[in-house]
Symmetry: C4
Subunit: 234 residues, 4 copies
Amino acid sequence: MPDQFDLPRRLAAEALGTGILVATVVGSGIMAETLTKDVALALLCNTLPTGAILVVLITVLGPISGAHFNPAVTLVFTGKRELPVNDAALYVVAQVAGGIAGTMAAHLMFGLPLIDLSAKIRTGGPQWFAEAVAAFGLVATIVAGIRFQRAAVPWLVGLYITAAYWFTASTSFANPAVAIARSLTNTFAGIRPTDLPGFILAELCGAFAAMLLMNWLLGPPQARGPIPIAETTL
Amino acid sequence: MPDQFDLPRRLAAEALGTGILVATVVGSGIMAETLTKDVALALLCNTLPTGAILVVLITVLGPISGAHFNPAVTLVFTGKRELPVNDAALYVVAQVAGGIAGTMAAHLMFGLPLIDLSAKIRTGGPQWFAEAVAAFGLVATIVAGIRFQRAAVPWLVGLYITAAYWFTASTSFANPAVAIARSLTNTFAGIRPTDLPGFILAELCGAFAAMLLMNWLLGPPQARGPIPIAETTL
Amino acid sequence: MPDQFDLPRRLAAEALGTGILVATVVGSGIMAETLTKDVALALLCNTLPTGAILVVLITVLGPISGAHFNPAVTLVFTGKRELPVNDAALYVVAQVAGGIAGTMAAHLMFGLPLIDLSAKIRTGGPQWFAEAVAAFGLVATIVAGIRFQRAAVPWLVGLYITAAYWFTASTSFANPAVAIARSLTNTFAGIRPTDLPGFILAELCGAFAAMLLMNWLLGPPQARGPIPIAETTL
Amino acid sequence: MPDQFDLPRRLAAEALGTGILVATVVGSGIMAETLTKDVALALLCNTLPTGAILVVLITVLGPISGAHFNPAVTLVFTGKRELPVNDAALYVVAQVAGGIAGTMAAHLMFGLPLIDLSAKIRTGGPQWFAEAVAAFGLVATIVAGIRFQRAAVPWLVGLYITAAYWFTASTSFANPAVAIARSLTNTFAGIRPTDLPGFILAELCGAFAAMLLMNWLLGPPQARGPIPIAETTL
């Protein structure tokens, strides 16, 4: 489907989508922590807008670029040979650039300095395991969703992230480009720049594990016996 | 699709829809601020009903009038030559009148004076930028949604506004008719009448920017080279 | 579609559906007011389960009985001659009986006396106007939803009630059978029995007004001029 | 549909799905009780992720294994002769094993000991009745949903559980495998191991009652009179 749109439009869609996604994550976090002292309520008011905007962005930009908005997802599709390596590299650049612009747009809306490095500590084994689980679930959801019910993928991703914000101890970044952009805001959704490598590595591991598992799980059920000749020749 | 219904019915649908939308925004704001002192919780209880009623109103009134409920949206469709200028002018009158009636209905339900000018200050560069972003996202969502998945537009708009209430610093009015109606209530959802021009101008700028970007982004991908003859003659 | 199922099954579906609906309204209200002192939060935790269960009940019982669960809705369909008067009377009996059983089931689950008359005052002009608005919106949503997108009606009703809990000052009972059942619980969702007549009368007025308006709004657009002969003879 | 995938893949899907479901229930409970002291808010932040992940898991794993994730549901399908008894036994083993792994994964993400027996008392008549109601509603929703709108079942289950968390006094475990897994966590979502038998028995009773009622309610409407010959011979 991405073939219908030329590369500049696809890159614009990736940058725009990642930018609005990050603006939503960062902006709703600022709004929430400004209005309440209850951290669970703040996280809820951070969660629901994020889940909602994902449904919107994937629906309206998916037909243009595939709506990855996420280097880990782009890597998976490149690994499945559905995206050329050159395009993938440009996708990642567009995602990171768009994400950073998203942080800046959120800061501009809330009258903050454009860039403000985060001091929020997010590190250690449990956090890394949580990020791996978050990315594992996201990629599994996308791959299996495309296989069984492509039209529902925007909803599945929005709902998955809504859940993962809460069941993973890391609040499920699950996205290297978004993680980088979130390191540039010293607000609710931030992450200390020095903690980025651990998060990104964990996310890539989780995504890779999901790709391996789904390759087996969704594969043809050959274990039941040899495929009849009629099927193999058709 | 609007052609199936005559102009009086279409105007009635625009007035009714904008009225119920404003009654929801204003009424849920009154209910919320009456029941809690936590402002984030109040905004959440203002957000969810607004998102929910948008899905309902656009689904059931869209087939009649197109379900604009918003002068900025009406302007975009007029700019795309999908609505005659005369009809558009009447749409805007119906939206503003319906919106004001919506504020009055909410006040009547909660036992307040029918009209009570707001004293809530909403002004300044960050607020205006936020309103421009809010309207930009709304129009982009609508235009791209109609292009790729028309049946999902009610959901996309409801979910977009659910997110934009939180990620824009202005809580995303994104609608000149609703803004005017909200200037007549001195409650949670109000806006000082003197702050209206800044909001409305920002909204129109954002809507116009979205129209320009979407015209390019959704345009035919001619950059890939000349269209084959076979395609042009079919 | 109701014709596919015999009357006993349709009445059982109406009783079961109204019962689960009331058990949800009353039960979630008890759970919420037990767990928090914030009334807005309690109402939110009363709202979301109610909206959710409506989507479920209308989807799975609609094909059996039409999923009215509401005498005001049954009256509207009887007025439109889509349900015989005798069946309608039995529908209303099943709804009221099912609703009362729902209150008792909720009380049993929470270890309360089966029946406990409510002392919660809900009366006066603003409350009555709010109930009329609530029922008006519900009936308009159902009638227009059936006309334009029948498959979406469960979602439309669930979302409408989610909004109406908040934008109407009465928290949108909008249902005489549910109102009666709620008079038998002295908990969050209750209503003083002496306040029932005002609520029920207001609901019926709102439903009737919606039926009138929708008859005109959804009517054939004959105002545009005489129908061409070709159309009238087809 | 499960026939398309061999038994190992189906069992893997049951284990994976139950595992992620339990990780969501337990993990979001830990996150919520860590971040707030308001128990209603904590339950809400436990509810929404659970409902959301159910929609995702049933959509993406349903085509592989049927997405039971629940011994009570597996028993119902076995009773309806849609699953061989041997497969059903293995399904239950996979569900319980996957559920326990889910608790352990949640503990690992939040830096807790892998297993920690719950001390949370959940017992007594009202709780058992609530669990029976919860499982009754779940099975009725699934059976009727499959009959009338199979594609909507993931949504129906997610929405049903969202409601049942609040309207049942037991917060609707409704699932013996999940109950066992929740006995191994001494956090928000836990249940004392000694209270398991009462819950499981109540769940099975509720599921059985729903199967009986639905067999009648959804049965052919023969009560209306003898079937015409033309129909019986076709």
